[in-house]
């Protein structure tokens, strides 16, 4: 199993032990993983990567469990990467997301892996990106990333997921929480879980109102580019008749719009998008009610997630989003390499020296930074 080609071959074939072993290599940043990941690269980019994020206790794991069941019912192979926090003091962790998903443990079409953050901030572990790629190459059709319980700014999941499901629950705070920047801006599909509890109607309303106001204010949001592209395609194809000719995957196109258009069937309390009095129909993402415990609303949620994927593909936004994310990840990896070069013994001394002269007010901060940059430009310190 130590041979990279053999490990890659077995992981590609869906061998659970090989996949698991490889993920452990990723987690401990074993340099030997790189040869395997390079071999697997050609088989990545096929899975639909779905992020599930939201505050602690919102029911993300239970929801993930039910989403897995729904996707399995649709004949898809599903992997879940569930992230929980490590203790900043001992490094230990209790990874408990799996408790809710044990019914899938013996299903050959499901692979579940728990990751501890191991000091990484942002709601994911450092190993998440490479882990998702391994599962993608292993042939899982959907890869679900469940983030740690997030607060207000853990938004790394947007860099990895094609579709982000933002899970909220009643009773978290007043309506100002919904208009703060950060986590609430990153959803492609919104979901209010535990919708059988008091106050869920209010949360649904507040999220819709937040989204509608973002549109009215012309704010840049994660969903705006997609909705603009959909609107353009709608206009180009005449919005109705003849659309079949212009749009190859028309059912996906229509279903995405249908989700957003309020209909009589919703009876005014519909959770599929919404309208603002006097403004007509505004294009906002789906805001759905679920009760993960019983599975209520999960089918509609999965429909919305799949419609989002179809809309991304149809508009070309899937490629744009993935390219932007890879560019970001390349930048981040490069920054990591630069930091590693600063760790070099000779350079570390030089950095300390520069820091000293900044502290003694002999050099200013920015001259010191320029000097460091010149130093990194040379092969040797």
């Amino acid at each position: 199993m130590d041979d990279p080609a053999e490990l890659a071959r077995r992981a590609r074939g869906g061998d659970a032990r090989a996949i698991a072993r490889l993920i452990s290599m990723i987690e401990r940043e074993d340099p030997a993983r790189l040869a395997v990941l390079k071999l697997l690269h050609a088989w990545t980019g096929r899975a639909h990567v779905v992020g599930i994020t939201g505050p602690p206790g919102a029911g993300k794991s239970t929801l993930a469990d039910k989403i897995v069941s729904e996707l399995r019912g649709r004949g898809r192979r599903v992997a879940v990467v569930a992230v929980d926090p490590s203790s900043p003091f001992t490094g230990g962790a209790i990874l408990g997301d799996r408790i809710r998903m044990m019914r899938h443990a013996t299903d050959e079409g499901v692979f579940i892996r728990s990751l501890a953050t191991r000091g990484h901030l942002g709601g994911l572990s450092r190993a998440t990106a490479e882990t998702v790629r391994v599962l993608d190459a292993a042939g899982y059709d959907d890869v679900i990333i469940e983030t740690v319980g997030v607060g207000q700014s853990e938004v790394d999941v947007v860099r990895l997921a094609d579709t982000v499901v933002l899970v909220s629950v009643p009773g978290l705070g007043d309506d100002i929480q919904a208009i703060k920047a950060g986590v609430m801006e990153i959803g492609d599909v919104f979901c209010v879980n535990k919708a059988d509890r008091d106050g869920s109607e209010r949360v649904l309303r507040e999220i819709k109102s937040m989204l509608e106001n973002a549109v009215l204010n012309g704010a840049a949001t994660r969903f705006t580019p997609l909705y603009d592209a959909m609107a353009c395609m709608g206009a180009a194809s005449g919005e109705n008749a003849g659309a079949e000719d212009a749009v190859p995957d028309d059912e996906a196109h229509r279903s995405f719009f249908r989700q957003r258009a309020p209909s009589a069937a919703d009876g005014g309390s519909g959770h599929h998008g919404g309208t603002l009095p006097g403004y007509g129909s505004l294009a906002i993402p789906p805001v759905l009610a679920t009760v993960a415990e019983t599975g209520e609303g999960v089918k509609a949620l999965v429909d919305a997630v799949k419609a989002h994927e179809a809309a991304l593909a149809l508009t070309g936004m899937l490629a744009t989003r993935r390219r932007d994310n890879l560019a970001w990840e390349l930048g981040k990896a490069l920054a990591g390499r630069i930091l590693a070069r600063l760790e070099d013994d000779g350079r570390r001394t030089a950095v300390a020296g520069l820091a000293g002269s900044v502290m003694d007010r002999q050099t200013d901060f920015y001259d010191a930074l320029d000097a460091l940059e010149r130093m990194l430009g040379s092969r040797q310190p």
Binding site: A20, S24, R28, S86, I94, A105, T106, R113, S114
Partner: protein, 133 residues
């Protein structure tokens, strides 16, 4: 860098008493280990499959229902079937002294009965891991 030890804590069998398992889980976490907690009423098949996917170094099982003589050896049998030979397997719970030799013969590395000090369990794990860094 030390390899982070991953322990799958599982409750096979039908009893609903998970206090002991949770105490162990917390102690192992505080010792710097990553504990994958799988909850109540797991079958040996679920435990082995989860341990493989999680690449666990250790499986720690607790039973208070009396079914240990059946369920513990069944886990070992499944591990052998899947050719997993590098996972340390521990048992705990209400287990009569007379049953312990048989369980060890079946491949359970150690049995910790009520009252076992958690530091002893942590030491045992650290000293008996089957995989080295």
């Amino acid at each position: 860098m030390d390899r982070t030890i991953r322990v799958l804590v599982a409750k096979p069998g039908l009893d609903g008493h998970d206090r002991g398992a949770k105490v162990i889980a917390r102690a192992l976490r505080d010792a710097g280990m990553e504990v994958i907690y799988t909850g109540l009423r797991q079958t040996p098949e679920q435990i082995v499959s989860a341990a493989i996917q999680e690449d666990a170094d250790v499986i720690a099982m607790s039973i208070l229902s009396g079914a240990h003589n059946h369920l513990f050896p069944r886990v070992m049998e499944l591990l052998r079937e899947k050719k997993v030979d590098d996972v340390l397997v521990l048992g705990g719970g209400v287990i009569p002294d007379d049953d312990i030799p048989g369980l060890k013969a079946a491949g359970i590395a150690e049995i910790f009965t009520p009252g076992s000090p958690t530091p002893a369990i942590i030491e045992f794990i650290k000293n008996n891991l089957k995989r080295k860094a």
